[in-house]
Amino acid sequence: MNEARLPAVRSLSVLVMPASRREEHVPTRRAPGWLVSWLQVGPLAAVLLLLFAIPMLLFLTVSFFDYDRVGIYPAFIFDSYQDVFTNPATYEIYVNSLRFAAITCAITLLLGIAIAQFLIFHIRSATTRIVLFLLCAVPFWTSAIIRAIAWIPLLGREGAFNQTLIALRITAHPLSFLLFSNFAVILAYVHQLTLLMIGPIANSMAKIDPALLEAATDAGASRWRLMWDVILPLSKTGIALGLVLVFTQVMGDFFIIQEMSGGQSGSVVSELSTEIQAMQYPPAAAAAMVLVVVVGAFVAGAMRVVDVRKELAS
């Protein structure tokens, strides 16, 4: 630090504030906080209300309507709901979809935790971490539809994977369960959705104070204990968010299941889309409402784990 004498401040040729420096430049009155917030959040809220809430309400209303082959008629009847609940196919489809959802959630959860753990706790350099994250994200810059059809040349009977297996003499015949099967559906789901698990979980893990882990190790925690007793509980929010995202994506899917199962399996929404194509809105709406309730129940359950206040800014 320079030890030279301070220049005498009063002789500074500094711009002197005009005597009227305390003149009005700023108004003394401020608009009430809540009003400003409403104006700021307004547009977003308006879009969501008009383009999400109202359509959903429309669905709800239409689900009580009467219909025939020709059109739909305003009414308040439970016929559509009755059809949904008495049709055994409904339960079959739900069980099917829920099964896929459960398996996908389980696999993506394990993968997500393992990979997030690796990226956050084992990679020391921040640059490497970002690069690896990007590597995970790059495939999603190609359309999901194209990625789905890419499985065919890869997993088909004459596909690259089978040909490699045969060339390496691991099997004699091509494996046929790889494509157009439940295996293929789950494979495609995991491929598509693991990133949705990695993201929130990694975010939660990154917020853990490293000092906590050091303290636990000093107290004698083994790696397993550390995982179960410290890391996982503190990543609860990320896990819950990941599960919500994956579950809702699987339950709402109609494309992957159709393509990868070769039309053998249906999902709740793919059934819905058939009814919608046929313009049979009331039963479609009723089925949609039931799905909304199922999904909503799951999300509500998962949200109990998430501290909403902390996720909100303030």
Binding site: M1, N2, L6, P7, A8, V9, L12, S13, V14, L15, V16, M17, R21, R22, H25, V26, T28
Partner: protein, 344 residues
Amino acid sequence: MGHLPHAAPPRVLPPSVIPYAVELVAVTKLYGATVAVDSISLRIPRASYCCLLGPSGCGKTSTLRMIAGHEDVSDGDILIGGNNITDLPPVRRGTAMMFQSYALFPHLNCLDNVAFSLKMRRVPKAQRYKASREFLTLVHMDSYAERMPGQLSGGQQQRVALARALITRPDVLLLDEPLSALDPFLRVRMRDELKRLQRELGIVFIHVTHSQEEAMALADMMVVMNEGRICQTGTPREVFDRPVSPFIARFIGGHNVLQTPVGPIAVRADRCRLAAAAEEPHVSGRVAAVEYQGALVRVSLVTELGDEVSALLPDTVFYAQPIQPGDPATLVWSLHDTHRLSEA
């Protein structure tokens, strides 16, 4: 011959007549039901260095922020230079604040940071850069003008923050724990800088700290706060020599607080000796610890009643007759060094 009409009294008192630069009148701050600042009143003379000292949560930062205008006053008035500024926004108060985290804008270089307030007043670029360079020179940071805050050390950032605050020519500079983030060596050097600046500029500095050493070194006027109230005001010497309450005696350090039949008393630890009990006031006990501090040695005793007291002895005195933890010893002082405390 008629009467000369009386001159109309001046509407605004000239500055030399206003005795106090900053005045707080029954200022209160409530956060919901919690009382952070409880109806405090304070008068700070012109051109003085005032330190607000106290433990965490005592209300000193809330008080500072109310003076700055970053916190609304729940009740009471604040006057600066005789003007009631309680409802004015920060920019119109004649104050400038130095934040604990410095809050230098990360997207602007040092020159732009310091020139910011002038840019808000639409001062042309050439003029504001010239002024900015002069103030950077004042804090010895002129060679860093083109650097970004992220490239500076803590001490350097602080000096730039200082320049940025001073360029607005405030009447009062408010500092929120400015030295807490610095390492001890740097802290002492910055202390000298701050004191020197304050004397040169001749304005009021109000400096919040929880370190009594810092406050004693810097302050012309020390204000000790606890639980939202002002416990004592005075020069550092007054507060150290004649603390008003047991809390202040303990907080300021270097005192033994003892209960006597006539009420609590405080005795400076450096005015105590270890000797045989005689006519002079004394307490007996066992040595609990001996702490070597360089020029002084601190011997702490546990008295027969279980109180902890200590003596600060010059090293030569201690090593002439060293003692060990566990030895019996008696703390002795002269009556004239006994200082009566209030009950609170």
